[in-house]
Symmetry: C2
Subunit: 215 residues, 2 copies
């Protein structure tokens, strides 16, 4: 199987764009239009599709419904994805309440924190002691975790998750974590994203001929 992180990211974007096309009444779509909507070339779209064995009609483009179905299947969106979260601080709490996850079939089923003041098992998404993470994950058979704890606690939190049997982690702490064979760590860092943006804005103003490649 081909594993190119970028191509999977693009599949998600295609899917989102297709829903929008559907909303405005389209049934079929050409690689050209989809490419435009997502900001890539049409060759890229066709290449991505062929990578995953998705095919269209030589002259009629792609059926939107069938395409969405296929993409959702590839992306594992045809079943509800249960996720746990560690670190019920500012960002963590926001993610718990974040509506768009639900819409995408992703549900945060429990949060964990070391601070007893934050514990509350009665909330819709219960906030529990970190010590209970392992037993929760085992009894609820969850595979995905989100880390929203401070820098310094991130590695320990990951270790706890790995021991519990988590196989994929979205890490918001700005630190490179050491993971295990059977656990993938994906990093999101908002400060870094902003830093990055600021750099390019400054660069653009100093040298207006500078061009960017990706988003």
């Amino acid at each position: 199987m081909v594993t190119n992180k970028n191509s999977i990211l693009r599949l998600s974007r295609y899917k989102n764009a297709l829903y929008r096309f559907k909303t405005i009444g389209f049934f079929k779509i050409f690689s050209d239009y989809l490419a435009d909507a997502v900001g890539v070339t049409s060759a890229q779209v066709r290449k991505d599709f062929s990578l995953f064995g998705i095919s269209g009609n030589k002259r009629g483009g792609y059926q939107i419904d069938a395409l969405i179905e296929k993409l959702n299947d590839i992306l594992g969106k045809n079943e509800l994805q249960k996720v746990i979260l560690a670190g019920a601080g500012n960002l963590g709490s926001a993610l718990i309440k974040y509506k768009s996850f639900e819409k995408e079939g992703i549900k945060i089923v429990a949060a964990f924190d070391i601070d007893p003041a934050k514990h509350n098992p009665k909330l819709p998404v219960p906030v529990l002691p970190l010590e209970e993470l392992e037993s929760f994950v085992k009894s609820h058979n969850t595979k995905i975790g989100i880390i929203c704890v401070p820098d310094i606690a991130a590695q320990h939190t990951l270790d706890v998750m790995i021991r519990a049997g988590i196989n994929g982690v979205l890490n918001f702490a700005p630190i490179q974590l050491k993971t295990a064979e059977n656990c993938i760590v994906s990093n999101v860092n908002l400060e870094t994203e902003l830093e990055n943006l600021i750099y390019f804005v400054n660069a653009l103003q100093k040298a207006p001929n500078v061009r960017l490649t990706d988003n």
Copy 2:
């Protein structure tokens, strides 16, 4: 000037790692160690540095303090960065309260929303009507904006920001926005990140020999 998005992202990571090395008492560092801390090769570190004219000592490695100073300078972190935000929903509100920005010299100075119920000019970070965005940006001379509005409102919000003179936008809406010459849009999409992670976890379990390239 060289503009490789990845290399700038790595500069941020190097900087973060260097602060940690400093905390534990290091004064000098070799490209090797730094590479390990960030999860890249030492050649990558040296290459990145040489791209930005950063040099070390042929046998003594790099002075941490001088290196941090240089990186901060490149990343524009030696002055406070003022940022505005549109969309004071769940995620927007969390970002407003997000402590790590402040720590990184990034300050959200005002938020804008179309919902009058959310308006409150007296908060530490005032929430104002979207119509006031333009005059605010002009009088406060801000260049960076964050978009946390729903999908459907994102393009209009960007247009308002561009008209106001914003040059860089961090967009959380899962949609490809059409921007102008003088405004860079950088996308962060949490649903997509999770989708992606879920895909790779599933792929890993189906075919345990699958390997990932980047984080």
